[in-house]
Amino acid sequence: MELLYNVFVDPFVQMGAMPDLLVQVIWEGFVSGILYALIALGFVLIFKASGVFNFAQGIMVVFGALSLVGLYEAGVPAWLALALSVLIMFALAVTVERVVLRPLVNQPDIILFMATIGINTFLIGFGESVFGGEPKTMITEQIGLPTGSSEIEMLGGRVIFQHIDIAAAVIAALMVASLAIFFNKSKIGRALRAVADDHQAAMSVGITLQQIWRIVWFAAGIVALVTGIMWGARSDVSFALEIVALKALPVLILGGFTSIPGAIIGGLIIGITEKLAEFYWGPLVGGSIESWVPYFVALIFLWFRPQGLFGEKIIERI
């Protein structure tokens, strides 16, 4: 009986008793959720355009962030380092298309998936040999990101907002909006959706798959770089981030592999759920449940809605 009370009643009593704390927890979850959403967005872009599940998306986040910090530590001015990091992500996109995707075109999906695991492993090894294995500190002020925090009095208490978190939310919103406009309204956007729908038909109107693949991998690379900067600013930059990047998987299961709004809503749901769970239910089992709660939520989703919140319903004739 006491257990039932602790699980089903007490957490809500606590939420009601200290609403300021609840707001703080939800805000923390919201910011994590944005970053999960950005990682998932990278997956969705590539999956939509090429049907490839890019296992290396998480490492691209780390690799982008490491390039920026690594160049800065090597004495390159901050803004130049940022520009060079963008170029590195572009070079990565071109290389992946030329060396991995093009030779494997028309191979089964699982082969391409394995190839992205290869890219993942390569980037870890290459990153470590170039930038070293120790964790690094992300540069923030040097590239115009705010630091510090504001306390706002509300609901009979104080809620702390880190400025970098606010910046992350704003930048993420801007990036998603511009990607949405670009992919919905421009010629390249139409071409991208065309390739996602039908390869042969797309080729017949003169769209080159290679160009589209380079563009989506570059777009995913930019999203990864931004995510890496934001995440790095909250903790530090190391390959341990990869574990965090895998949280994009439950996000994708929730949001659907082909939906950009799904990636965002899914990210926010996962981020907020895991923080609430950790804070209010975690103590019952000794904490650290935020590492598995997202997967549990995803599993429950799979039972009832395998195509995700916004995914295309798969109807197959049998």
């Binding site: 511009s178 010629k187 996602a196 042969q200 038909a201 769209i207």
Partner: protein
Amino acid sequence: MMDGVSEAQGNLTAADGHVVDDRIKDEIILKVDDISLSFGGVKAIQNVSFDIKRGEVRAIIGPNGAGKTSMLNCINGFYHPQEGTITYLGTARKQMRPHIAATQGIARTFQNVALFRGMSTLDNIMSGRTLKMKANLFWQMIRSGPAENEEIEHRRQVEEIIDFLEIQEIRRTPVGRLPYGLQKRVELGRALAMEPTLLLLDEPMAGMNLEEKRDMSRFIIDANEQLGTTIALIEHDMGVVMDLSDRVVVLDHGEMIADGTPQVVQSDQNVIDAYLGVSHE
């Protein structure tokens, strides 16, 4: 409508089968020379040769599995024949890439409608303008300057095609929701948006009812006569083939068994045998 068709066709050819009107030029725009294509041990096409003149409607017919679609796939570069050459607009080539074919004015439709199902009719047809749009990525990103003017200009041309095909009321509908006959029409629209020199139509009337077939016939004739598009078409409906085409190639088991005007081909014993399934011994 069909009466108009036969009448129009009636004064195109003289009694001896020679073309007399000025719609068809003497220039050969596509010449298929001794093409062979096989997949592993299966021979899809064997030593086939024929040509297409500028301005004509050329039909490719034959029983199922005759190699008709494979032939179109060779022409637009999806397949690369192992032997033989294809000469298009005076340039001979062994291999063609679909993208280059599109750049040089070869458009096509597919046997099983291949539209971008999630996109509207308008966007599907706009995608046919891809190669005509030149604004670079930068202007597209910020959606202004040249990119914006270009969108407006091409949108106007796409609206003309929509009017031409009489599909105004479905311009905003995602094509996945359209009935099959209209999907085929949108697919033709996408191909026409490329302003093709040579239009390849793979069974444009498959699965259509009589009325839809009449409409589609009319659009094909108009595309040919008004827009001056050269057309190569695969079709199973013999009535349609006889009405629409100037010359017919007949394939059977990957080999060419006849080539000539509809009248000549129709009375060819090999063709009759192929369609009736006489054995090939």
